[in-house]
Amino acid sequence: MTRGTHGRQREPVSTPVEQSQDPAASMSLLNQLLMNPLDAGYEAWVDPPESRQVRWGYRLLVLLLALALGVGLTFAVRALRVPESASLRSELLERARERQMVVTELEAEVADLSTQVNAHVEAQGTGSSATDTPLALSTATSTVTGPGLFVTLKDSQDADAASRPGGGAVRDQDLRMVVNALWAAGAEAISVNDNRIAPGTFIRTAGSVILVNVTATEAPYEIRAIGDANALSTALVRGSTGDYLSSAESVIGISVSASAQSSVTMVGTDLQVLRYARIIDSSGGQ
């Protein structure tokens, strides 16, 4: 640095020690600290004799390089900034909500595509659950209407609900006992909070919510069943189910109430898992 600028100065503002033939020239760091000279590049600049094009070429190069350096600097600064912990939680909440929206959209797409598939299958005319009514009923894929029963389970509303086991909340096994009793009493279709119970549907607790298949549900839980209302409501108070529910009411404090309805409607569900498919080569079909 010192040798390069030795013969090319124009008007030195200050004469730093490093400019002379100082044997301690390699100690220029300390000299810099003491003398505080301007950066050697600016100090030693001489306007070189260039044509106009070359000068504009250099200007363009300088612009592009400065652009790149500015972008790089901002990227680095942004990457280095650490988010405050207060916003971390809201960031996670945001991400959870986004993922939930994606899931809802995908579910809607699945429902849409399944109706299209069913339409195609019906057009084919081959026997399938879409056209075969008893099969559709047992696989819970079609909309059904009929007389039935509403069963409502509510969390404990007492003042001492927190001191009860489980906080006085309805548990998944309570819902399962009710649903199983209704099936055993001859219900033809059951839904829990508008989630249709199909052959493979499970009711399980995950964390603090009860999941029906993969949809979270919350109290109060309304179980609708289509069938003979008398037989269904009798099944809830007699036998082991009746004992179970009354002990649940007294120990945990949940409330179980049933009311007969003359017309219950519930939509079908289409949660078929595709395990085997074969393309049928037919003349008029797709």
Binding site: L33, L38, R59, L63, A66, L67, G70, V71, T74
Partner: protein, 110 residues
């Protein structure tokens, strides 16, 4: 002139684009930023002294960043990465301080 405009435009672009910096670049980011700051303060001082040339500014910026990153990389290869980072940041910080002292003298006395 062009250099400052390019830099400002680059910073603006960087604010709106949301990149992810690759993991292997992460150790070099602090020294790169401090080296860039040193070049910026040197340019400010040169401009106040009337000796600013954008070619020198861009080259000093680029050179500072490259040399700082090279030193840190060399340090990580030799196993003294943290110490080397500290040393580079200390020296660049000293230069920043001396340049800002000159700037202060030039602004408030000139």
């Amino acid at each position: 002139m062009f250099a400052i405009a390019g830099l400002a435009l680059g910073i603006l672009i960087g604010v709106f684009v949301d990149p992810t910096v690759p993991v292997w670049l992460q150790p070099f980011l602090p020294v790169a930023v401090v080296a860039g700051l040193d070049a910026l303060f040197g340019a400010a001082r040169a401009w106040l002294e009337g000796k600013f040339h954008d070619r020198v500014f861009v080259m000093s910026f680029f050179w500072n960043v490259v040399v700082a990153c090279l030193l840190v990389w060399l340090g990580t290869q030799l196993g003294v990465g943290q110490a080397m980072t500290t040393a580079v940041v200390v020296v660049l910080g000293i230069r920043i301080f001396s340049n800002t002292a000159s700037i202060r003298r030039l602004i408030f006395k000139a």
